[in-house]
């Protein structure tokens, strides 16, 4: 449990390095960037509310660590919570609050508009996201990520409910306001909620985003990819007693899919994404949940 936060920072840093490499930059760019922001002065604006902004900036990485705490990293979670899925979702809503007040704090128009973009983003992705995480819970009959992972010893839920898996991947990027869903920090708003933050403040925001992305990607492993167990088709486990290894391999695959998504899809305006969510994603999520419910009905 004590090692959870540093471990998340390291893995999120590696994910950021992979992200920089796929974006055509050196893989060392996140390290240089971190050092740069640490040496950089912090900054304030006229009539701002620095306390509010810093509450948000601190809440973001904290929410990421607390979300990860209920994810089984291998065979069991650091905190084995019976309602882990609900706890995870609650932490994600803390992140909405964080981005919103981070944009609100500096008292600047672009920053405020960026912070507010979290609301249309959340309204668009949250419903398909909730249906997508509740679908494996229905199939396993439990809200505990550990139990859901154990229920997949015959068949991964990613195969059995592919639509829910794809919707979950989309919502991972959306809850970390990253890639196609980076509008709250959009370049069209000069950095949006990040526009007025410098130095350590900016580092917390950008690193918190990668930590949130990594934590949410980690949750995909127990929910859809069988947790720390080897794939059902390989027969006997070639690395018995190393569920953490399987977990890591699967996490790398999920992060790879997310990086491919970022490369394939440009940043979406919130009006566009809301249209997509309400006309395609929500009906799809409802249909998927319905099919699974009918099949598992005793």
């Amino acid at each position: 449990m004590v090692l959870l936060a540093p471990a998340l920072v390291v893995v999120a840093g590696l994910a950021a390095a992979a992200g920089a490499a796929t974006a055509g930059e050196g893989p060392t760019a996140p390290v240089v960037e971190t050092l740069r922001l640490l040496t950089k002065q912090r900054r304030r604006t006229l009539s701002d509310d620095p306390a509010l902004a810093r509450i948000g900036l601190t809440a973001l990485p904290v929410a990421a660590v607390l979300a990860l705490a209920v994810v089984p990293l291998g065979d069991r979670a650091p905190v084995d919570l019976g309602v882990g899925v609900v706890w995870f979702n609650a932490m994600e809503v803390v992140a909405w609050f964080a981005v919103w007040v981070v944009g609100w704090g500096p008292n600047a128009a672009t920053s405020l508009a960026g912070g507010y973009r979290v609301l249309p983003l959340g309204l668009a992705y949250e419903l398909p996201h909730m249906l997508a995480i509740i679908t494996p819970a229905i199939a396993a009959g439990s809200l505990s990520p550990g139990v859901i992972a154990a229920a997949q010893h015959d068949l991964w839920y990613a195969v059995w409910m592919p639509a829910a898996f794809l919707l979950y991947l989309l919502s991972v990027a959306a809850m970390a306001f990253w890639g196609p869903f980076a509008a709250p920090l959009g370049r069209d708003l000069a950095g949006g909620a990040a526009a007025e933050h410098a130095g350590l403040d900016r580092l917390l925001l950008l690193a918190g985003r990668w930590m949130l992305l990594t934590a949410a990607a980690a949750m995909a492993v127990p929910l859809f990819l069988g947790g720390g167990a080897p794939p059902p088709i390989t027969g006997p486990d070639p690395f018995p007693g190393l569920p953490v290894l399987w977990f890591a391999v699967k996490l790398v695959v999920v992060l790879g899919l997310l990086l491919a998504l970022r490369r394939a899809v440009p940043m979406l305006r919130m009006a566009r994404f809301a249209t997509l969510a309400w006309t395609v994603l929500i009906p799809l999520a409802v249909a998927q949940a319905l099919v699974v419910t009918v099949v598992v009905l005793p």
């Binding site: 740069r36 008292n107 672009t110 507010y116 526009a195 900016r202 440009p266 566009r272």
Partner: protein, 331 residues
């Protein structure tokens, strides 16, 4: 100090260009920054090096001063008057960053990103707007957008009224360029037709966060590509379905008949690449800024970047900018 020298390897650069900047100088700077892998800063808070191109007039010089006052240390301010000096100036900026140790006293509690005179103590209060998407009367804010923004036309300031993130009114001002120079210079394209198209596409793709496509467009702009490469890139853009989908639902009011939406404009720019066609139409700043009215900020930025007003023509017949009238913010 080891730490600062590491930082000077990858400084974020905020480029400020006057409306009359030589297009060759601007593209040369962008190419050199890309070659060094120095990222473009998204805002003054994100800036290490402020790079002033050409010769700024008095109004732009004021903006540079107020932006500089809000750039956190360590920082460096350098000017690039001509292309010849470019490389040595950038080296000098990196050295300046290493040398810049102390914290600047300008960034105390009174620090701001606004071009507000220091004696203005009252924060700007929002008015009530009459119209919004949903017919609600939200707060209306008068904001000056530009001229220091990523992918923004050089020297342009859009004085907009915002209801939430919706632009309900806008007028253009081009800093230090007197009003309209007459129709004679319309259709001029100092970069040539295809390089102008690629320049516009670089900005639109950059705003959309399609970084690898934007980098490719910039690469093709900055060297002499084969016509085949241009048509291939144009086809690649036109066939990119996520891109087309992301560009939909943005009207371009006042554009040519065949380019009444953002999607059509980008499709035409991409389709004409390598085809020996006349240069794309670039409206006056006033016309392009008018097209932002009724759009949400993000869509308005895309519309403006796609129309790519020729700011060297001046701002058209609008009333002169008066700083005392309302509190303006420059970003």
């Amino acid at each position: 100090m080891v730490l600062t020298s590491v930082v000077a390897r990858r400084p974020h650069v905020l480029t400020v260009a006057p409306a009359t900047v030589d297009a060759g100088l601007r593209t040369a700077v962008e190419a050199e920054l890309a070659r060094r892998r120095w990222p473009a800063a998204s805002s003054p808070a994100d800036t290490d090096v402020v790079l002033v191109l050409g010769t700024p007039g008095p109004r732009l010089a004021d903006v540079v001063r107020s932006v500089w006052a809000t750039v956190p240390a360590p920082r460096a301010l350098v000017g690039v008057p001509t292309e010849v000096a470019l490389r040595s100036v950038l080296d000098e900026a990196a050295a300046g960053l290493v040398a810049s140790r102390g914290r600047t006293s300008l960034l105390s509690a009174s620090d701001s990103n606004d071009v507000l005179p220091q004696e203005v103590g009252e924060p700007q209060m929002a008015d009530l707007a009459f119209y919004d998407h949903d017919g609600l009367a939200l707060d209306a804010l008068h904001v000056a957008v530009g001229p220091v923004l990523p992918h923004w036309p050089a020297g342009l300031v859009a004085h907009v009224t915002l209801a939430g993130d919706l632009i309900t009114d806008a007028r253009a001002e081009v800093l230090d360029v007197p009003a309209s120079v007459g129709p004679g210079s319309r259709g001029r394209s100092p970069l040539g037709p295809d390089r102008t198209r690629l320049d516009i596409l670089t900005r639109v793709l950059g705003l959309l966060g399609a970084d690898h496509l934007a980098a490719r467009a910039r690469q093709l702009r900055d060297r002499d590509p084969e016509p085949g490469e241009l048509t291939t890139f144009g086809r690649r853009l036109r066939r990119n379905r996520p891109l087309r989908w992301a560009l939909r639902d943005v009207p371009l009011v006042g554009g040519p008949v065949e380019e009444r939406t953002l999607e059509e404009r980008v499709a035409n720019l991409a389709g004409a690449l390598g085809g020996s066609l006349p240069p794309p139409v670039r409206p006056t700043a006033e016309k392009a800024v008018q097209a932002m009215v009724g759009l949400e900020l993000g869509a308005a930025r895309l519309a403006l970047a796609a129309m790519d007003p020729d700011t060297a023509l001046g701002a058209g017949p609008v009333t002169a900018f008066t700083p005392a009238e309302v509190a303006h913010q420059h970003h």
